[in-house]
């Protein structure tokens, strides 16, 4: 599904290159649950941003679903967001002026899903996440864990084939964090959604099937976990 070849990312300042990523080459297959780990500043988030096409690598090629997406125009990229990629953020990034329902609905509107289909999908998601009673609340009326659930529901609404999550539990208490990770695991196992998450927590990484350890921009370890 994802092919990274010799990805490099550096910033030049005063003629000196500051490398964030070096020689990253890896393949992620459909249905994998990958955790990217490493110390602060190692380049985890940059790697995830490159995977999510939010940043472009300075060098190297990136193939997404057999298509070279290393340098893609905005329109094509957004097409991919609409149909294949769901994002989950550490700070949830819900739209404050929209209710829970509207937040989940928004990607469907951009994807131009019909009204009836939209309603049924949202109802389904709300039901699944036990949020039916909260559908008319605004994000600031919810707890962090609930907000992140909405964030995930929003990412799932467009039925993506891959979810990119940047420290999805970073702002959450451990009980809530566990709930989210279990949800990810379930989505990965039952729905076959590919998940790539950036995390600090060894424990969270254990929910996945594979761990990429990064330090100083270089992939140090690539560990495949056996199912628990």
């Amino acid at each position: 599904m994802i092919e990274l070849k010799n990805i490099e990312k550096y910033y030049s300042s005063k003629g000196i290159k500051h490398y964030v990523l070096r020689h990253v080459t890896t393949t992620i297959k459909q249905g994998e649950f990958v955790s990217i780990m490493g110390p602060s500043g190692a380049g985890k988030s940059t790697l995830l941003n490159i995977l999510g096409m939010l940043e472009e690598p300075t060098y190297g090629t990136y193939e997404f679903m057999e298509e070279d997406v290393t340098r893609l125009n905005e329109r094509k990229r957004i097409e991919l967001y609409r149909n294949h990629i769901g994002f989950v953020f550490q700070a949830y990034h819900l739209i404050d002026e929209m209710t829970v329902y509207e937040n989940i609905e928004a990607p469907l509107l951009y994807k131009k899903v019909g009204g009836a289909e939209r309603a049924s999908r949202i109802a389904d998601l709300l039901d699944r996440f036990n949020m039916v009673a909260k559908k008319d609340l605004f994000p600031n009326q919810l707890s962090g864990g609930q907000q992140q659930l909405v964030g995930i529901a929003r990412a799932l609404a467009a039925q993506p084939s891959i979810i990119l999550a940047d420290e999805p539990t970073g702002n959450l208490q451990s009980a809530q964090a566990e709930e989210i990770m279990q949800l990810f695991q379930k989505l990965n196992k039952e729905d076959g959604i590919t998940i790539i998450q950036v995390t600090h927590s060894e424990k969270n990484a254990q929910y996945g099937s594979r761990i990429l350890n990064i330090a100083d921009g270089v992939v140090k370890d690539d560990i495949t976990l056996t199912a628990v």
């Binding site: 988030s45 941003n49 999510g52 939010l54 940043e55 905005e74 329109r75 957004i78 097409e79 967001y81 609409r82 990629i85 994002f87 953020f89 550490q90 700070a91 990034h93 819900l94 739209i95 002026e97 929209m98 509207e102 609905e105 928004a106 990607p107 509107l109 951009y110 994807k111 929003r154 467009a158």
Partner: protein
């Protein structure tokens, strides 16, 4: 999608209700000002546009060596029509505004000041249509006279039909009667506004090229080369004047005369023969209206920039959810469009309520709600325009944010956009400063004009309207005696012109071999005394000198300067086939107001080339004014039987005060504009300062914990705004200096450009800014730092 965006927009606005209200309110006020200006502009630029031949009508005027005039002679129109096939029609009109004519039906009377005399051709060209249609008068003598509908109503209140009626002219005893052919609707929105019209087949018959008392109009065929025609008419006119001329000097003079063609469209605002002050005022008014609107739009942009950090996150999220940039652009534009729409509706309400004051100030009669109002297409256009101006930043810049940057969490737009934000703020204040300085300087100039010594005293002088001629001093002598018997009347005189800014006649006078053009005013004894004009040398007219009524002349200082005379008293000046002896020199006085220099003028009692002396002026003691006026009214028919029983007067100072009218309008417009711009700019600043302090709450808290005092924090917040306002002042001073200097240069008599307005405007803007920002900063300063630092 649209529905959701709309919902979000409304929620967004609702959340920032105070600031939204400020923004929309400010824009509404600015739009209201703009609506008024746009309506006024349309009104002023569309005079006579109802005329079907508007595009093809030209006024024919003369260019003499030292002046331009629209006054031409009757034969010119005829020869133009005969010689040039491209001229479809040519006609002449004549108007006499110098005296009022009473028209009576029994006890009911009207006083007409301008009866437009027109030949049939001119009536056709100028689209003069009496009710029932334009009828060709029969023969040479018949004049068809029509009066305004209002006048007909006054004279014949019960009249239902449109049949001719008999009326009497002048005093009841005069016995002159005439026929009024019918009624005509007077178009106030025309250069040819009248109390009535008198149409003849041909007017000015028998008058030659010397009788330049008429206006000539031509209607050309569409597509005519006007420049070429103008040249051809000039040649024709010269050829006509040269006919039978043998004197070499006259022939040379004729070669210096030419003809100009001035489109009808120019007549109201910028006639070639006349001044274009109304045009300049209109243009400056339009610029004012537009600038106010731009300033209000800037408030929107500035607020968008201030909100950018927050909106940027929304942009980032929406993009990763699959929104195209165009969709976001549309969303932002929609949001701003809704606000502008609300503002527009409010603006209509504001404009409607301000309209009576506006109409009163500019002496027009504009209304908002009539079907052919240009606003109905202008307003939607303006709405789109302001949406684009106000929305260009969020629509183009905000929507272009990269999600990777804005979603990282510590994104701040303040750095990249601060130059734009500050620049816009500086721009707003620069405009406000220019307006304030302008206002101060207009005020000082008007104050100067009201308080400056005019060289004559208009106070306590009553100008009496009169229709009988007093060119012979002996005839006025008896009247004067009767007038002086009335208690309070100190002196009485009669002249061709009163010093109310209206033009005098001009003629060529020769002094020691030099011929120059001088203004002439024909006066009677006591003219200078009544007006309290100062004597510089020699003496004024006096009945003691019997020659004064024959060939004595008084000239003013400007005339002395024009000829470069030395010791002119007793010397001879020749004009109108008469040798005048200069008996006195009058000090210059500002009969023409402050805009033009005092014209070199000659005053004589006898002037064969002069006009009718009809303008009576009386100096009346202030304390006995009411009684004297009552007595005059009661005894008028005995005092001046030829004028009739109706005593009509005006105070000369009121009449002279009308000269300031245009400038007073400008002053009021500037006052409103300065007030509005500063108000709108302060509104914007108020909202803006709120965002800035909100953004710095954490910084303020940290500083307080580090030991900063409240004063130090106030200083900190104010300092950047202070610098911006200072910059605005520095930028706008040279601009204001140039503009006000240019304006002052339109006055022949003016103040020196003062420094005070510049300093005052700086003080005012700085004070208002510090006040506004401090009000906003107070909340942040007073807050407990712990609350601000608790988050994150």
């Amino acid at each position: 999608m649209f529905k959701l965006n709309l919902k979000i927009a409304l929620r967004n606005l609702w959340r920032n209700l105070g600031i939204t209200a400020i923004n929309i309110g400010g824009l509404a006020i600015a739009l209201a000002a703009f609506i008024l200006v746009a309506m006024y502009f349309t009104f002023e630029t569309s005079f006579d546009q109802t005329n079907p031949n508007y595009e093809n009508i030209y006024v024919v005027g003369r260019i003499e060596p030292d002046f331009k005039t629209n006054y031409t002679s009757p034969p010119l129109a005829k020869v133009i029509k005969q010689n040039f096939p491209e001229v479809e029609n040519a006609g002449i009109t004549k108007i006499n505004r110098s005296w009022e004519l009473a028209i009576k039906n029994g006890k009911k009377a009207i006083f007409t000041k301008n009866i437009l005399q027109a030949d049939y051709n001119a009536a056709k060209i100028l689209d003069i249509n009496p009710i029932g249609g334009l009828i060709k008068p029969s023969g040479d003598v018949e004049r068809l006279t029509y009066l305004n509908v209002e006048n007909i109503k006054t004279l014949f209140p019960d009249k239902k039909d449109n049949k001719p009626e008999m009326v009497s002219y002048g005093s009841a005893s005069s016995g002159i009667t005439g026929t009024i052919a019918g009624a005509i609707i007077n178009n106030e929105h025309s250069n040819f506004s009248f109390d009535g019209v008198s149409i003849g087949n041909e007017i000015g018959k028998g008058e030659t090229y010397g009788y330049n008392n008429y206006n000539t109009f031509i209607q050309v065929k569409p597509g005519t080369d006007v420049a070429n025609l103008q040249e051809k008419i000039t040649n024709l006119y010269r050829a006509e004047l040269l006919k039978g001329e043998t004197d070499l000097k006259t022939i040379n003079e004729i070669k210096g005369v030419s003809i100009f063609l001035d489109p009808l469209a120019n007549q109201h605002l910028k006639p070639k023969a006349g001044n274009d002050t109304p045009y300049k005022i209109l243009i400056s008014l339009s610029v004012l209206g537009f600038l106010i609107l731009v300033i209000a739009c800037i408030n929107f942009t500035n607020l968008s920039i201030a909100q950018a950090t927050k909106r940027a996150k929304e942009v980032g999220i929406k993009k990763v959810m699959g929104a195209y940039r165009l969709q976001l652009t549309t969303q932002f534009l929609t949001e701003i469009f809704i606000q502008c729409l609300v503002a527009t509706v409010m603006a209509m309400v504001f404009a409607e309520s301000a309209l009576p004051y506006f109409n009163n100030l500019f002496q027009v009669n504009l209304t908002l709600w009539h079907a052919d109002n240009n606003l109905f297409w202008q307003l939607p256009l303006v709405l789109c325009l302001i949406t684009i101006i106000a929305g260009i930043y969020p629509a183009l810049v905000l929507s272009g944010f990269k999600p990777a940057l804005v979603l990282k969490g510590n994104f701040s737009t303040s750095k990249q956009s601060s130059w734009l934000r500050n620049g816009l703020l500086v721009f707003q204040f620069s405009i406000a400063v220019i307006f304030i300085i302008g206002l101060f300087i207009i005020n000082s100039q008007l104050k100067y004009m009201r308080s400056e010594d005019l060289g004559f005293t208009a106070n306590q002088v009553v100008y009496v309207k009169n229709i009988s001629y007093f060119n012979d001093p002996a005839k006025f002598k008896t009247i004067r005696e009767k007038l002086l018997k009335i208690p309070g009347v100190k002196s009485a005189t009669v002249a061709t012109d009163v010093p109310d800014g209206s033009g005098n006649g001009a003629n060529g006078y020769t002094f020691e071999g030099q011929q120059k053009s001088l203004d002439f005013v024909d006066v009677d004894f006591d003219y200078f005394e009544t007006l309290n004009i100062k004597l510089k040398d020699g003496r004024f007219f006096s009945p003691k000198f019997s020659t004064d009524t024959a060939n004595a002349a008084v000239i003013n200082e400007s005339a002395v300067a024009k000829y470069g005379m030395k010791n002119p008293i007793g010397k001879t000046i020749r004009g109108c086939e008469t040798d005048y002896k200069i008996v006195g020199i009058a000090k210059d006085f500002k009969a023409q107001g402050f805009e033009s220099t005092i014209l070199p003028t000659i005053y004589t009692i006898k002037n064969p080339c002069g006009n009718a002396k009809t303008q009576i002026m009386l100096k009346i003691e202030e304390s006995k004014m009411a009684d004297a006026l009552a007595a005059l009214k009661a005894k008028w028919s005995q005092i001046n039987p030829k004028d009739g029983e109706d005593f009509r007067y005006e105070f000369l100072d009121d009449l002279y005060g009308k000269l300031f009218k245009k400038q007073e309008q400008l002053q009021s417009a500037f006052f409103a504009a300065a007030l509005l711009t500063i108000f709108i700019a302060i509104l914007g600043l108020f909202a803006f300062a709120k965002y800035i302090t909100n953004g710095r709450i954490k910084e303020i808290a940290v500083r307080k914990i580090l030991g900063a005092s409240d004063i130090q924090i106030f200083k900190l917040i104010n300092s950047s705004f202070f610098m911006m306002v200072l910059a605005a002042n520095v930028i706008s001073w040279p601009v204001a200096y140039i503009l006000t200097k240019k304006w002052l240069e339109t006055f022949a008599y003016r103040i020196d450009l003062p420094v005070l307005p510049f300093i005052s405007s700086a003080l005012i803007t700085i004070l208002l800014t510090v006040l506004t920002v401090s009000i906003q900063a107070k909340k942040a300063v007073k807050a407990n730092p712990v609350d601000a630092l608790k988050y994150e």
